[in-house]
């Protein structure tokens, strides 16, 4: 697994308090990992901080799963 995926997973695990093996490629933050709308905002802000990138609101809306996040961040950073 790439370094980016590891770092994203660490943030998700810490923030949502879920087991690491639950954070699968297609795991939806809201449907599978129990996030609420505020959690998704916090996750996006945590990704921005960790990777030093800006995630615009319209892009943030497309980040629904762990895989989406890794893909977006890989392209952006």
């Amino acid at each position: 697994m790439s370094d980016i995926a590891d770092r994203v997973k660490k943030i998700v695990v810490e923030h949502l308090g879920v087991e690491e093996d639950k954070v699968a490629e297609n795991a939806s933050f809201i449907d599978d990992l129990g996030a609420d709308s505020l959690d998704t905002v916090e996750l996006v802000m945590a990704f921005e901080e960790e990777f030093g990138i800006e995630i615009p609101d319209d892009a943030a809306e497309t980040i629904q799963t762990f895989g989406d996040a890794v893909k977006f961040i890989s392209q952006a950073s």
Binding site: D36, L38, E42, M45
Partner: protein, 245 residues
């Protein structure tokens, strides 16, 4: 009751009568306080009076960039901002028909927009720590209106709507947002009134006297306390019964 040991509070307008009393009350309850205001001298004097756990953080609230920088400066100085008290405010009173854009805008900027910026600035660290207290000092005139204060009343009413909306958004994260709406409070500003003027004001107040800054500070202390954790989105009116809302 109301122990704030280990908590850090940022108070704007701490050079004024009410802000100074708020800072003293929070400090006396054990909090570290960040004293913000435009006039450095009274802030330094207050900090010297409080001794330890007091930091002076000058800021011009009509300067958007300076306002955005204030939460960071406060966190650098104190280590955190657990409690934010938006107390600073200005008046530019004018009969509505003659109110200029500038009189409107400057009051909205300092009283409402800067409060919004500070709330936004402290929100992320509060979300992270799963604890926070936002206390916005509104005014009785935000609820009742007041001739000559269209701008001020609009800003103070705006604070109430803002406070409630923030309260909704962050309640699940252990953060409360409340407003305190003072009535007539005896400060340097009201000292300038003549005895006749004061008498007329007191005649409108069921308690038959002006409030003290300490009575506002006590309301803020309660809302800042761990004991008020289930109180959010409310406006605590402290006005001697002048308006029973």
């Amino acid at each position: 009751m109301f122990d704030l040991t280990g908590k850090c509070a940022l108070v704007t307008g701490a050079s004024g009568g009410i802000g100074g009393a708020i800072a003293k009350a929070l400090h006396a309850a054990g909090a570290t306080v960040g004293l913000s205001g435009t006039r450095v001298e009274p802030l330094e004097a207050l900090a010297a009076e409080l001794g330890e756990r007091a930091h002076v953080l000058p800021c011009n609230l009509s300067d958007a960039a300076a306002v955005d920088a204030l939460p960071k400066q406060a966190i650098e100085a104190m280590g955190a901002v657990d409690i934010l008290v938006n107390n600073a405010g200005i008046t530019r009173d004018q009969i509505f028909m003659r109110m200029s854009d500038d009189e409107w805008q400057s009051v909205i900027d300092v009283n409402l927009t800067s409060a919004m910026r500070l709330c936004r600035g402290v929100m992320r660290p509060m979300m992270k720590s799963r604890w926070g207290r936002i206390i916005n000092i509104s005014s009785i005139v935000g609820a009742t209106g007041n001739p000559g204060q269209v701008n001020y009343a609009a800003a103070k009413a705006g604070m109430v709507g803002m406070t409630k909306s923030i309260a909704y958004e962050v309640a699940s994260r252990g953060i409360t947002a409340n407003a305190v709406a003072p009535g007539f409070i005896a400060t340097a500003m009201t000292d300038k009134l003549t005895d006749d003027q004061k008498e007329k004001i007191n005649a409108q107040i069921p308690a038959a006297r002006m409030g003290t800054p300490e009575e506002i500070a006590a309301a803020v202390l309660y809302l800042a306390s761990p004991e008020a954790g289930y109180v959010t989105g409310t406006t605590l009116h402290v006005n001697g019964g002048m308006a029973m809302l």
